[in-house]
């Protein structure tokens, strides 16, 4: 009970009390990575608490040198605390007053200096988290363009963003979420552009998260924030590219950084945010438009094409004369619908296997997959060649989807459509597609209709989706973000 009252109150004057508290509650002496260094400066005890591995030893040695030199240069004084504060040669030194803060800061990788007889401590930010250098993200490669990507470190991530937007109104608000993990979460936006209501909603939602820890990073935050339920469609867009995220911030979006996660959440998002790619903006508008259309065709194919073909197999009368050649010429023992499901799930096997296979083995696996399984399945008489062709086309369409999450959601829709066609034929297909469109239109992500700008229709915005417009020509921020300032800067032109 005594311990609890200490933690809420101010720092005790006695260093022994602090050490005792740390030993009992935080595991000093038990956990090998927690440590305390004791110095004597001007005949007073000074304790420095740290966590191994989260702070930079070089900096700490420099700080200690300076502290120890106090004994050589300064006269005895009662104001040891002031002298120590002055001698901590680091730009980021803060005072703390409670035991709680001390524990939090030490466990975050900062060092805390406490002086005998003082009710305050000094925090020095010497954090250096283990992590990697910014690299090009695997999932969003471009032929031309910046090759840096976000890392697992939130400080590096916000820095990469601020490098691109040096605006005075750019805000990164940080907070700690998770009872035990105390993960840093930051929301980024431009104050006079982003919709203040949206910022408020996101802050409120973030603060109301009650959980042990966010070890799975942004995905956990997303589930808490958007209450997705069993809706398979991704409600936020993730990006690992600082240029993509910066472009969205400028459009009035609010982004969420989560420490330990290299992907950043962009909110609010619609379906069409998931089908665009940075590459389109690295090419001329015409080429970008072409690339985008090809991509749209791919995504469209991945959803509707395979069930349509299967429908024609079931009812060959539907085909107009010139297309009558479509459909399997050979007959097999296995019904086509079973073949389709086996082949489609087979592709899913391959995908999962490829994710877990080390690069050195993946070539061999690809060979087995493509040549052996495909060819031999046909030779044995398990599959009709056409099934392999159309499943492969649909599969490639899924992989073409820039948003990995959307690709998988579309795959589920495709399988459901296939099942509907198998049972109800034409009405199944038509009603299935109709329900799919209505479902997309009824989803709301942070109160934004998901299928905007197609449904509800917004002509100018829809044109921008169809045609990748030149950047100098687009003066207007997209209305979906409800930005406070609809015109991009400078607004007077």
């Amino acid at each position: 009970m005594v311990q609890q009252s200490i933690s809420k109150k101010m720092l005790p004057e006695s260093l022994d009390t602090i050490e005792d508290y740390m030993k009992r509650n935080i595991g000093l002496g038990k956990s090998f990575d927690l440590g305390v260094r004791k110095l004597k400066i001007l005949r007073k005890d000074i304790h420095i608490y740290y966590v191994n591995g989260l702070c930079d030893t070089q900096f700490i040695i420099n700080l200690f040198e300076e502290l120890v030199e106090i004994n050589d240069h300064e006269k005895l004084s009662t104001n040891v605390f002031g002298i120590v504060e002055n001698r901590l040669i680091h730009q980021s030194v803060n005072r703390i007053k409670s035991m709680d803060e001390l524990v939090d800061q030490v466990l975050s990788g900062l060092i805390v200096v406490v002086v005998e007889g003082e009710r305050e401590g000094l925090v020095v930010d010497v954090r250096s988290y283990p992590g990697r250098q910014p690299q090009e993200p695997d999932t969003e490669k471009v032929v031309r363009g910046a090759r840096d990507g976000y890392t697992e470190n939130i400080i590096v991530n916000t820095a990469l963003t601020r490098r691109r937007i040096r605006d005075e109104k750019l805000r990164f608000e940080i907070m700690k979420i998770g009872e035990r993990s105390k993960t840093d979460v930051a929301i980024g936006y431009i104050e006079d552009v982003a919709d203040p209501d949206l910022v408020e909603i996101i802050k409120r939602e973030l603060k109301s998260i009650e959980t042990d820890g966010l070890t799975m990073g942004d995905k956990t935050v997303e589930e808490f924030m958007l209450k997705q339920g069993y809706n398979p469609f991704p409600l936020v867009r993730y990006s690992e590219r600082p240029d993509v995220v910066s472009a969205h911030i400028l459009e009035g979006h609010v982004v969420i950084f989560v420490d330990t996660s290299p992907s950043v959440m962009i909110t609010p998002t619609t379906f069409f945010h998931h089908v665009q790619h940075a590459e389109e903006y690295r090419q001329s508008p015409t080429v970008g438009t072409f690339v985008r259309w090809v991509r749209f065709i791919g995504i469209f194919t991945s959803i509707f094409f395979l069930p349509l073909w299967f429908l024609f197999v079931l009812e060959p009368d539907l085909l107009p004369g010139r297309l009558a050649f479509i459909g399997p010429n050979e007959t097999t023992n296995i019904p086509i619908i079973a073949q389709l499901f086996i082949a489609d799930i087979g592709i899913e096997f391959l995908r999962m296997a490829a994710v877990h296979t080390p690069t050195s083995l993946s070539t061999a696996m690809g060979l087995i997959a493509a040549v052996l399984i495909g060819q031999i399945a046909i030779d044995v008489g398990l599959f009709v060649p056409e099934v392999i062709l159309y499943v492969a086309v649909a599969g490639i369409g899924s992989f073409m989807t820039p948003s990995y999450e959307l690709g998988i959601a579309n795959k589920i829709v495709r399988l459901i459509l296939l099942a509907l066609v198998a049972i109800f034929h034409v009405p199944g297909y038509v009603i299935g597609v109709t329900l799919f469109i209505l479902l997309l239109a009824s989803i709301r992500s942070l109160n934004i209709p998901y299928f905007w700008p197609f449904l509800p229709f917004s002509p100018m915005a829809f044109l921008k989706i169809l045609v990748r417009q030149s950047v100098p020509g687009s003066k207007l921020r997209p209305s979906i973000t409800h930005s406070r300032n609809r015109y991009r800067e400078p607004s007077n032109s």
Binding site: L319, P427, I431, T434, L438, F457, P472, K475, H482
Partner: protein, 173 residues
Amino acid sequence: MVEENNKLEQEHHEKPMSLLGLSVITGLFGGIFWSSIAYLAYVFKFTEIRPNVILEPWTIGDWKVGWLGTIISIIIIGMLSIGVALIYYFTLRKFNRMYIGIGYGLALFLIVFFVLNPIFPGIDPFKELSRNTIVTSICFYVLYGVFIGFSISYEESEIQKSKDSKQKEVRST
């Protein structure tokens, strides 16, 4: 034209659109888009009804069943669709609910297939239509109704919202 071209690309300006303008464009686009898709459905025999039925009440040349007839029909449906959108604009735009759009589409379906049926010899009496045709048509009308209704109602609610927030700002200052 020359002046236009001399203008820097930066100087082109986009303006937000009025709700009435939006309704007209939504109607036109919705009519053309969905009747084009409906034509595709006709090609693949999902439905027996092609857009060309709109030309049937008039006795004009044989071209009305060819590709020219199809394109002209789609454009005419687009024009008629503007009227449909305007009717929605004047009557139902305050209801920002998706099922209102669905209902609007269903109502249109009933009107075309039961009330206006005698005008179009191309559309068989309801009882003689095949099941595929009926299902496909209902789906098209529902999607079309939602497209028109949801778009106009959503924009209207957006306008209301921005008016509200402006009033709030005025009050708070």
